[in-house]
């Protein structure tokens, strides 16, 4: 029997290695897998590259992982959020590397990784600093840059409901990067609010089909 549900956070995070690239869902706090991120401190993986839209806020979730010194690089579109103190401190101290990627390109690069696309041309960032060192090409009169797929070793995704096959639904704008990151990682771990029986999620309403998900863990809401 296929059963992707796991009972403990230890089981959910087992096998994540030092040096991994970790895709972290969320836009601000909406859809951020805060509990998984904090448990990753105990799990012990270090030297991590984090791909996420923001660079954490306050001292919880992603910021806590950074504060614990586990993150060497952040790939994001917008590191400065209200209260991204930890990140800014580490950045000022030269302790963390930053790659800024336009938000749509960030998402599309992960989709490319998930969909087997070897690279794509986009006009976003062409003619700007962020496109400066990229291969360019004029297509239909518009300058485009070539972007490469962005693959994760692990995706930590916060969803709303999940079942034993790994099917997921999301809640409102907390959907954001979840569905794309789930596709783009070798190991996708989903934190859900509710576990549903198989078939309870209508096949018409599944947002992330289980094929993209490896582990599902039910966690209480913390905030």
């Amino acid at each position: 029997m296929i059963d992707k549900r796991v009972d403990t956070i230890d089981a959910a995070l087992s096998g994540i290695e030092d040096g991994s690239t970790i895709l972290v869902s969320g836009f601000g706090n909406a859809g951020s897998p805060i509990r998984l991120l904090e448990a990753l401190i105990d799990q012990g993986a270090a030297n991590l590259t984090i791909v996420s839209n923001n660079a954490g806020e306050g001292e919880f979730g992603l910021a806590a992982l950074m504060k614990a010194g586990r993150v060497t690089k952040v790939i994001c579109s917008y590191p400065r959020s209200a209260g991204s103190i930890i990140f800014e401190e580490l950045y000022d101290q030269g302790k963390i590397e930053l790659e800024v990627v336009p938000q749509g390109t960030l998402s599309e690069r992960m989709r490319a990784a998930g969909a087997g696309i070897g690279g794509f041309f986009t006009p976003t960032s062409a003619g700007t600093l962020l496109g400066a060192n990229k291969e360019t090409r004029e297509i239909e009169g518009k300058l485009h840059v070539l972007e490469t797929p962005l693959k994760g070793d692990v995706a930590l995704v916060k969803a709303d409901a999940g079942d034993r096959w790994g099917n997921l639904t999301y809640n409102k704008s907390a959907r954001n990067f979840g569905p794309t990151m789930a596709m783009a990682a070798k190991l996708t771990i989903a934190e859900v609010k509710t576990i549903k029986e198989l078939g309870e999620i209508s096949p018409e309403h599944v947002v992330t089909p289980g094929i993209f998900v490896d582990r599902v863990i039910k966690l209480r809401e913390e905030r």
Partner: protein
Amino acid sequence: MNTALNRKQIAWRIAQEIKEGSYVNLGIGMPEMVANYIPKDREIVFHSENGLLGMGPTPDKGQEDGDLINAGKKPVTLLEGGSYFSHTDSFAMIRGGHLDLCVLGAFQISESGDLANWATLNNSKPPGVGGAMDLAVGARQVFVMTEHCTKDGQPKIMEHCSYPLTGTGVVNKIFTDLAVIDVTEEGLVVREKVVDITLGELQNKTAAALFEPKVCELRAPIL
């Protein structure tokens, strides 16, 4: 008497320009105010890059939902007919040319429509680009909402931007506290200006040549 518009009035002026049935993205900050002044008889669909179409106003106190936020990470609501989708789908809308209009803030705008609104020359903090580059190149029309000059009186409209660009040749129309200016292939064409400034004075506050074939009066109700 000073007839220069305040921010609410610039927002009001832009709102008058938005056609019934338009799909519109309002940039974070000042541009968000535009939503407050849409004429009551016009149905406009607001898009937020974090996965909302049909975004509604700020919820009543106590009705906020952390999973329902806008691109500025502030609580919002969703109108009937609205929908939720992933970041990838949201940026497909933006980058695929499906938005009729995007209203963005600006540090600088060039006479050829270049936009600089994400980084300055001396970034004491790590710069974030968010979705600005995607919106700038993707929306069918880009309006800029800005004060005509910086706080210390420097022109923001110039021959060439000195700050890092967000996009090249993307701006269609500039709405300031003093004027409404079209960016055309022939250059910057003043369409409207407030009454108590002469064209000469407006030119002095602008570091690029202005053309004035027929200038109307820019006025807004008291707001």
